[in-house]
Amino acid sequence: MSKKHECIAMLLAGGQGSRLGILTKNIAKPAVPYGGKYRIIDFPLSNCVNSGIYTVGVLTQYQPLELNDYIGNGQPWDLDRMNGGVHILSPYQQIKGTEWYKGTANAIYQNINFIDRYNPEYVLILSGDHIYKMDYSKMIAFHKEKNADCTIAMLEVPWEEAPRFGLMLLNDDNSISEFEEKPKNPRSNYASMGVYTFTWKKLREYLIDDEANTHSSNDFGNDVIPAMHSAGEKMFAYPFDGYWKDVGTIDSLWEANLDLLNPKVDLDLSDESWKIYSRNPVTSPHYISDTADVQNSMIAEGTEISGCVDFSVLFSNVTVEEGAVVRDSIVMPGTVIKSGAVVQYAIVAENAVIEENAVVGQRPEDMINLDEWGVAVVGASVTIGKGANIAPKAMIDVDVKGVE
């Protein structure tokens, strides 16, 4: 309730997420379901409240309806505040005309008024497509201690993966000496996580300069950060060593879900001291019948299982009928898998129906040509007809007829 906000967070939720294909046909990427009951955006939002940050702007311009609806008044994350709380910020018409967000930096630029209203010392810039648990308050303390203008959260990645990331070369005091954007021959394996803490006064200046620069792509990584660096601002890397995963592709989304079943993976969602909040479905506990066999799986409330489920993540209100098999798969809320159907190495989106004896996906060991293998995806509300066969790597967003 205190009027001054030391730090507010701006969450870039704008991307169309086209690499997630039909999963983001009708919803923004941050609203994609994850982990049995969550959506991707639950992670940054929960990190914020757990870190004591109670004012969050969510920047979005693409398919915000479901995201809007999901976030609602922010109550599930304890972000329904009289002062602060969570706000969805879409582009709007100004007296001089309109602009869609041109880039990440422009999105923040267009919301300078919003930020100024809270008069924060620091602004945290987050993205809406990463799964991780992080105490931002420690990063902010680091930023303060270093008296930095910009602090970038950094992760040590395996050298072979380094070329996929924006990398940083560091001095002994963790100040950043050089940036490398996805280099072929990396000289560092310190990757940027896309989590930035800025001293707002500084960032504000650079955003205005960046907007005035007609050659700029108005992006943090390409424009604002390099500009600050070349102007000699104090930039530091804050080391983070927990679980962190970009879920921007079908494969990484599939993996990140199944990571939850791997006891060796450092992502514990049952930790009482760092809860991940979400809008909970209103359903009864899940039911496992006498005919079911459930192994090494995560099952959400409201689901009823009479078939076989192995190494899979089932969201709420899923039905797996007797004789159906689900393995190595992700099944999103409300989907029905009928008797005799097999779902394997697949992601099935919400409210789909897999009719009797249909087969979705393929095990890699059953493939002749392993290059053709990949996770199969069935879109929301799609029906896969009786006995139909959905090939690996397929993306199905219209009903598939049954095979007699």
Binding site: K37, S284, H286, Y287, Q295, M298, V309
Partner: protein, 372 residues
Amino acid sequence: MRSNNVLGIVFSYDYDYVLPELTNLRTMGSVPFGGRYRLIDFALSNFVNCGISKVGVITKSNYQSLMDHIGTGKPWDLSRKREGMYLLPPFSNASAAGMYAHRIQALYGRLGFLNRSNEEYVVFCDCNVVCNIDFRELLSAHDKSGADITIAYRKGMAPKIDDTLVFDLNAENRILKAALKVNSQDAVNYSLNIYVMRKSLLERLLTEAVGMNNTDFERDIIQKNTSLLKIYGYRVDGFARTIDSLMSYFNINMELLKRENRAALFDPERPVYTKVRDDMPAIHGLGSKVKNSLIADGCIINGEVENSILFRGVRIAKNAKVKNSIVMQGSFVSESASIESVIMDKSVVITPNKMLCGTNNYPVYVGKSIVI
């Protein structure tokens, strides 16, 4: 009758005495039920699902856990600026000089709250009845019959509670005679203690009863007035069960393992709302074996579970066995321990290799936070 013209009142503590084990540290309204609920959830959800937006919760003692559960009323959308949820504890106003023993006294002590409410009708009920009833229909039946009072009832074996009323009704469902239940093996029309009437009538009846030194709502108000007032019954055919003992508590929980009972009690058109705990989904480990069981979020199961109900955050270790049991929130069954026909309250720990065993008709109760 517009339902935002109806005031809901729930007695959170009535019949605490039929479940002494579970109400030792809490009141009936906060007794856990069905894997993730507390008993008051059913009353509150029935209210809000029909559009009632003002609810008074009458408490007496032992209501800290109830307050923790209902909080500001947000899960039921009863955290309002106008209307919403009102906790009505004893001693909260100057005139309530003592603790009320009876329903009449309890309601009379809330006359101020009743007077200040703008609603024209009032519905009140207890927490020991587990049901999902379309109150819209109940209210419209009350409206159509022109009744002064409508009481929901069920046909079947009456619960073993002494002051349960049983009714003789005519073809129009008017109650001709209300008698106190006598023990019998016959199906009777027994009251579910869900009452609808005009608020003004309730106010008058209470004032008269207190003036006459009457104390018993069922006997002194309902039984006595079956001819003076038009009292109608409303027959409930859906899922409605009255908890009258630990045994019936156990059995009613176990009834939820049948699909048709779940479908009736958890009708998606009239959802049952409860406090959100933000647990992760349950995990069934490699080598676990679960049959015919209800499992709430937050459970981690590595052992065997059969014919049981596991509340949120229960952990069953490797080689542990849980059969015909109710295991409440946060309890833990260690490696190679085994329980059968047990009701385990919250945060109980069964240490490794221990075995605890009740019978089908005599489940063993283990109190909160006990380590065995």
